[in-house]
């Protein structure tokens, strides 16, 4: 059972120290202590970075919008997240009378749990991971599926029909975007030859961003939708259905949802950098620093996209998922499958050739989709308008 963590030196040190205390008979106790220590370290670091990320996002979005973000609370406003947390703790914890208490209270936990669970497989640097599951990518898919369940729980338990609408729309969006996401992960698994995230990291002689740009773009859009992030944040924008499935949540429960959302962005950044940005040759000595830099780069791009692109309507989001991203992801998988069969060794020059072909496919696919879009009046007509037109003419 402890074999998974053998290569992790921190785990090894704590395990040996604990074995020295309790002896070999209670080895499972030593294992538990060592594993708990590592989990506490990783989880706390993750959650702390999530709160720090809220500060960074508010400051950077402020600068994108020609204003200063929060800068009053600490030096440069760094303690703003703590001030928010304290405020949320002080708020009254309102549970609607008709709400399902147990499910209502469980939903925020079910929302935060998958993002913390997904940390188990992500390599933070060389030999620095919690578990080298040989099915790491599948594990990530599984944990992202739990989040949509949490949204449904939140919406139903609020016993508020508008929260229910918001939850339904959110879940529809989440499950629609899981398909292109899974297809892209499939393509990356084909390229790397393994589903293990550490193998994906090490097999990137050149980053997969250059080898499969279409996959990276689809992944970025799909994961933005999974994170309920602009431009797909219709479920939680204030002008839409108050706060969607979060309407009835106040106080720290809302704080947990909020934290889960921002921590998920960092998690998505970690996954993106593992799948598409990993494997530079300067990996080894400063691998953790490089990892953080890549995560922050993803976070910056996510913030940039958020400040620039206006929100899509829910029907536009569905159309993008099913009519644009899904066919493109199928094209991506097909192309990569053919390339992997043609050049099975995946050495650096072969990856470069694959990359060139894929860039060509990306360009052709973009042009084709845009042309088809323009011909069909794509995102412009809303379904209600179309219904009126059908009635009249």
């Amino acid at each position: 059972m402890g074999d998974l963590l053998r290569e992790n030196t921190l785990y090894g040190n704590i395990y040996d120290w604990a074995i020295g205390i309790v002896g070999e008979d209670l080895a499972w106790l030593a294992y538990t202590v060592a594993v708990m220590a590592i989990i506490l370290l990783v989880v706390n670091a993750f959650l702390a970075m999530g709160t720090l990320y809220t500060w960074a996002e508010r400051r950077i979005i402020g600068r994108f919008q020609s204003r200063v973000g929060p800068n009053r609370v600490g030096p440069f406003g760094l303690l703003q997240a703590i001030a928010d947390a304290v405020k949320l703790l002080f708020k009254e914890d309102i549970v609607p009378r008709a709400a399902d208490r147990i499910v209502f209270n469980l939903a925020p936990i079910a929302m935060l749990a998958p993002s913390v669970m997904a940390l188990a497989v992500i390599p933070f640097g060389q030999t620095s991971y919690l578990a080298n599951l040989n099915i790491g990518l599948l594990y990530l898919i599984a944990t992202s599926g739990i989040a949509s369940l949490a949204v449904m729980m939140a919406g139903y338990a609020s016993s508020n029909r508008y929260a229910m609408f918001g939850a339904m729309r959110a879940v529809a969006m989440l499950i629609s975007y899981e398909i292109p996401l899974v297809m892209v992960l499939l393509a990356v698994a084909l390229l790397a030859g393994s589903m293990s995230l550490v193998d994906v990291m090490t097999s990137q002689a050149i980053p997969f961003l250059l080898v499969t740009p279409l996959g990276a773009i689809i992944f970025f859009l799909a994961i933005s939708a999974e994170l309920n992030r602009s431009p797909f944040d219709i479920t939680e924008a204030e002008s839409e259905l108050i706060a969607g499935y979060l309407t009835e949540y106040s106080g720290m429960k809302f704080g947990v949802f909020y934290l889960a959302e921002f921590a998920n962005v960092l998690l998505a950044g970690a996954i993106f950098s593992t799948l598409f940005l990993g494997g530079w040759p300067w990996w080894t000595p400063l691998s953790h620093v490089w990892f953080l830099v890549k995560v922050m780069a993803f976070a910056f791009i996510a913030i940039w996209v958020r400040s620039t692109i206006p929100r899509f309507r829910i029907d536009q989001i569905m159309v993008i998922a099913w009519k644009v991203l899904f066919p493109l992801s199928l094209v991506n998988v097909a192309a990569i499958a053919i390339e992997v069969v043609a050049w099975p060794e995946r050495t650096l020059p072969q990856l470069v050739i694959m990359g060139i072909i894929n860039w060509g496919i990306t360009a052709v696919a973009t042009v084709a989709v845009t042309r088809a879009w323009r011909a069909s009046n794509g995102l412009r007509v809303s379904p209600s308008a179309r219904a009126v037109r059908l009635e009249v003419g």
């Binding site: 538990t32 599951l133 040989n134 599948l138 594990y139 599926g145 739990i146």
Partner: protein
């Protein structure tokens, strides 16, 4: 390999078994439909935990992905969108007969499980079988596309038919 290596795994097994059976019983007892659905999902997830204990982590992850990620949503949507479901598991006249049937079935199952001679896998697992434990997806994938390819393709056609049916149902006239 032993089913449980140490006391901790044994404790985990009993915990997961209790959760599975308990949630399954509660599914048919609880009054609120949505809670019954959630308890079903909890039961299935603890089954995934039992798979992990059996060194079948691929199955465990697939169990979570399919059941909690897809079927759970399906069940919940079905519960949401069905009208007139005020209360689940109301007491009905055939309850005693149903309980008796269930008890008889349970007795038969327990008896046959205790009676059977279960073969444990030997300590050193023979070669083709060991490959499954080392790299389950690869072995499964190879088998699906070599020996069971017909079943695989039929499943694909079935899913295709389901998708076309769904599209036909929601077409705008």
């Amino acid at each position: 390999m032993q089913p449980v290596d140490n006391a901790f795994q044994e404790f985990l097994f009993w915990l997961l078994a209790a959760v599975t059976v308990g949630c399954a019983v509660l599914v048919v007892v609880v009054r609120d439909m949505f809670r019954a659905a959630l308890l079903l999902i909890a039961s299935l997830m603890s089954v995934a935990g039992i798979f992990v204990l059996l060194n079948a982590e691929f199955l465990a992850v697939v169990q979570v992905a399919i059941y909690a990620g897809a079927i759970a949503i399906l069940v919940v949507f079905a519960v949401m969108l069905t009208r007139d479901v005020p209360e689940a598991n109301r007491s009905s006249p055939i309850a005693p007969a149903a309980f008796t049937m269930a008890a008889v079935l349970l007795g038969a199952l327990i008896y046959s499980i205790m009676q059977a001679e279960w073969d444990l896998l030997p300590e050193d697992v023979p070669a083709p079988l060991a490959a499954v434990f080392v790299d389950t997806p690869a072995r499964l994938g190879t088998m699906l596309l070599n020996e069971y390819v017909l079943a695989f393709e039929i499943a694909g056609v079935l899913l295709f038919a389901a998708v076309i049916g769904a599209l036909a149902l929601v077409r705008e006239r």
